[in-house]
């Protein structure tokens, strides 16, 4: 047997060994992720209505739900609301998380304590966050509203005013999740070697120049990853809306997953709700892929 043939045989055995090692994980993933996704998509091709079980396997008009969605103004409105919510919360969380991470990127006792304190909102269950802020937004019992009234600046209810309801959700969502981006930014900042920073300072770089030309290139990848995580998570901003506004007043805070929830759980129209969910999964996937491609192209240009 030649040396080349032996190498090929060893490589094949190694690939098989890797595959054997990965198989349990792949099987679990297929069972827990892919199978439900396939079922979701299959259901979206039916008019499944829970009160009519025979509709579960009715594939006579597989495109009907998607055509119906195309003509449903409440769905397109919910996508627009979702877009506003996701864009603003992700930008605010990144900005706030980065700003505080820069402030805390020094090892002193007080800053270590502050770091732990800032993490509290993130570790609270979302439903608890919702209830906490529900109290804060209820005018006649809220300490915030009472304090504002006491200093002569009374504020009306933020969650029942259509011009502020969505921004109240944005504020709470940002409060809850900026610690996540802060943690990621802190980790990225601590990976930056001291030498380029010192060299830039010796060369007379100011704080802004230091950030723009030295620090930012180091943390850019972490920033993109944090943005992706938060973007995907923002699409799931359900508990806050459920507790704080119930999608209202009217439908000004009715994001896409809330609309799907109403169709499924209030009206029992699971086929239609599955079509909405399928489009949400596809949209999130395409968006993540596009961001990844864009940042990859930018990296290639820099290199």
């Amino acid at each position: 047997m030649t040396t080349g043939a032996m190498a090929v045989g060893w490589n094949a055995r190694r690939r098989r060994a890797f595959l054997a090692g990965l198989t349990p994980a792949l099987a679990v993933m297929a069972l827990l992720t892919i199978a439900p996704a396939v079922y979701l998509f299959a259901t979206s091709l039916t008019p499944l209505n829970l009160t009519m079980p025979q509709t579960a396997w009715d594939f006579s008009e597989p495109h009907y739900n998607y055509l119906d969605l195309w003509e449903d103004p409440r769905f397109s409105n919910s996508v627009w609301i979702q877009t506003k919510l996701s864009a603003t919360t992700v930008v605010l969380q990144l900005a706030l998380g980065l700003a505080i991470a820069l402030l805390l990127n020094v090892s002193t006792r007080i800053r270590r304590l502050a770091r732990s304190g800032f993490l509290i909102p993130m570790v609270l269950p979302p439903i608890v966050v919702g209830i906490l802020w529900r109290v804060m937004f209820t005018v006649d019992v809220s300490p915030f509203h009472r304090a504002m009234a006491f200093v002569g600046l009374p504020i009306g209810s933020l969650i029942t005013d259509p011009s502020t309801a969505l921004w109240a959700i944005v504020a709470v969502e940002t409060w809850e999740w900026f610690p996540f981006t802060m943690l990621m930014m802190l980790a990225a900042l601590q990976m930056i070697p001291d030498s380029p920073i010192e060299a830039a300072r010796i060369d007379g770089a100011g704080s802004l120049q230091l950030f723009r030309f030295v620090i930012f290139p180091y943390i850019r990848h972490a920033l993109v990853v944090a943005a992706l995580f938060r973007l995907i998570d923002s699409v799931k901003a359900f508990p806050l809306i459920y507790v704080l506004t119930n999608g209202g007043p009217g439908d000004v805070t009715q994001v896409t997953n809330y609309y799907a929830f109403i169709q499924a759980f209030n009206f029992s129209l699971w086929g239609y709700a599955s079509a909405i969910a399928t489009l949400m999964v596809a949209g999130t996937f395409v968006l993540s892929w596009a961001i990844d491609r864009l940042t990859g192209a930018a990296d290639a240009r820099d290199d």
Binding site: N49, F137, V139, S157, P162, P249, F267, S268
Partner: protein
């Protein structure tokens, strides 16, 4: 707000057992019924069975939690009991029932889901239990339940699927009648008087005049019908929504003015718990809502117990249409403990236990005629000289005309959502009443067609 209640199984004091036994014996004497008050010491065929029971959070199911240890003591049946909030309960149960799962043994049949849940065959017919003397003694007397309350729990063939634990009447109540009286006014009897009263007393003593629950698919309908409108053209046969009629527009404008101009700040966020808390605390004055909620103003612990007042719901230009909501216990088709589940329903709806709940907790939304007629009930249900039992009986009688049919059609949840959103848009000035209701009408038609309803 959701509230979970767990009975303290196995922690019954001797005093509790003695009190329970004495009260049961006393009730039996009052009603002349020979049903065994307790099976303690007797054969317990369901010993060791565990029942999963759930109902939305309302006064009766909350009160019932205190008595469940006695049921366990009598029958040997353990009960996992929970009472989540109304929307959470409905969503959870709708999904569970649709799978015909066995997770629950006894469930509340929610009024707006009666047609859907019973019509789909998701609940067990109860006649085999009610009519079997081995399972139900004659003294339990199913015919004692109000016919109007049992009606929504029957299917198209008139078969009973639930035992009504509440026939809740929509009425009016105020927390600070002293303010209204000082203004030289009484409880309003017409919509015009209601508006005049609100305009006169709003923010007197710092108390906003009006508040109502933000479930407008319930609280607005009495106004809609009072103005001569309805939800559907001719329910349950013709389900074409009629949300954009001139009567509906007038009702929405009137109602929105009450909520917006005479309500507390953030009135749109008040669910039933918040309404009751605000009324009991004297933070708002007048409300139209369920009797079971409003009468909590007169209970011990309420800051307004001495100043609360009550009346039948006012009449509008087209008449008086106070809502009546019926909820009942049923056994899910998928339950594996149906006989034990019936034991629970039988016990929880017995004259003896209901009598105790009225006497000990002040519960008033009773569905048994014999209790409604009992002198002690009238006495217990008189608050500050107002005969609540009469308001209740008058309201139930009014509803016998059939104007609540809109609520028992299987697609009402769809229209309910549209109504709530439409009224929110009007109250928050996003849209005028006409435009908002036209949108609700369009959306309702789309939702009903999507659900397979043929509209003409």
């Amino acid at each position: 707000m959701a509230k979970e209640t767990t009975p303290r199984s196995g922690r019954i004091s001797r005093r509790t057992v003695l009190t329970a036994a004495a009260a049961s014996a006393g009730s039996s004497l009052v009603f002349g019924i020979g049903t065994a008050p307790a099976q303690v010491g007797q054969n317990r065929p369901f010993q060791g069975t565990t029942l999963n029971v759930s109902c939305w959070s309302a006064p009766y199911p909350r009160f019932l939690a205190d008595y469940i240890p006695e049921f366990t003591e009598q029958t040997g049946i353990r009960v996992n009991y929970d009472t989540p909030g109304f929307p959470i309960y409905n969503q959870r149960v709708d999904l569970e029932l649709s799978t015909r799962g066995s997770a629950f043994d006894v469930l509340n049949i929610t009024f707006i889901f009666t047609s859907r849940w019973i019509g789909a065959g998701w609940f067990t017919p109860l006649e085999p239990y009610i009519n079997d003397r081995n399972k139900t003694p004659a003294g339990w007397d199913f015919s004692d339940f109000l016919a109007g309350a049992v009606a929504p729990l029957r299917d198209r063939n008139n078969v009973v699927h639930g035992v009504p634990w509440i026939a809740d009447a929509f009425m009016s109540g105020c927390s600070r009648f002293d303010i209204i009286r000082a203004a030289g006014m009484g409880m309003p009897d017409t919509f015009d008087e209601l508006e005049r009263m609100c305009a006169t007393v709003h923010n007197r003593d710092g108390v906003p005049a009006f508040v109502t629950e933000n479930h407008f698919g319930w609280t607005w309908i009495a106004f809609l019908q009072g103005f001569g409108g309805n939800v559907f053209r001719n329910p349950p046969d013709d389900l074409m929504p009629t949300l954009d009629t001139p009567e509906a527009v007038a009702a929405a404008e009137f109602f929105a003015k009450l909520v917006r101009d005479y309500g507390p700040e953030g009135a749109l966020s008040y669910n039933y718990d918040a309404v009751v808390a605000a009324l009991r605390g004297g933070r708002v004055n007048y409300s139209s809502n369920n009797q079971a909620f409003l009468t909590q103003m007169g209970e011990a612990g309420s800051r307004v117990a001495a100043t609360s007042n009550y009346s039948i719901f006012p009449k509008g230009p087209a008449g008086r249409f106070p809502g009546v909501g019926v909820h009942g216990w049923g056994i899910p088709a998928g339950s594996r403990n149906k006989d034990a589940a019936w034991e629970f329903i039988k016990w929880s709806m017995s004259k003896e236990l209901l009598t105790r709940i009225v006497r000990e907790k002040g519960y008033g939304a009773i569905t048994r005629q014999s209790i409604l007629d009992a002198p002690f009930f009238k006495e217990r249900m008189t608050i500050n000289g107002v005969d609540i039992a009469k308001i209740y009986a008058d309201t139930i009688n009014l509803a016998a005309a059939g104007y609540m049919r809109y609520r028992t059609v299987h697609v009402y949840p769809q229209v309910n959502t549209q109504i709530t959103q439409a009224i929110e848009r009007v109250v928050s000035r996003q849209m005028g009443a006409r435009e908002s209701l036209r949108q609700a009408q369009t959306n309702s038609i789309a939702d009903l067609r999507r659900a397979g309803v043929r509209l003409q």
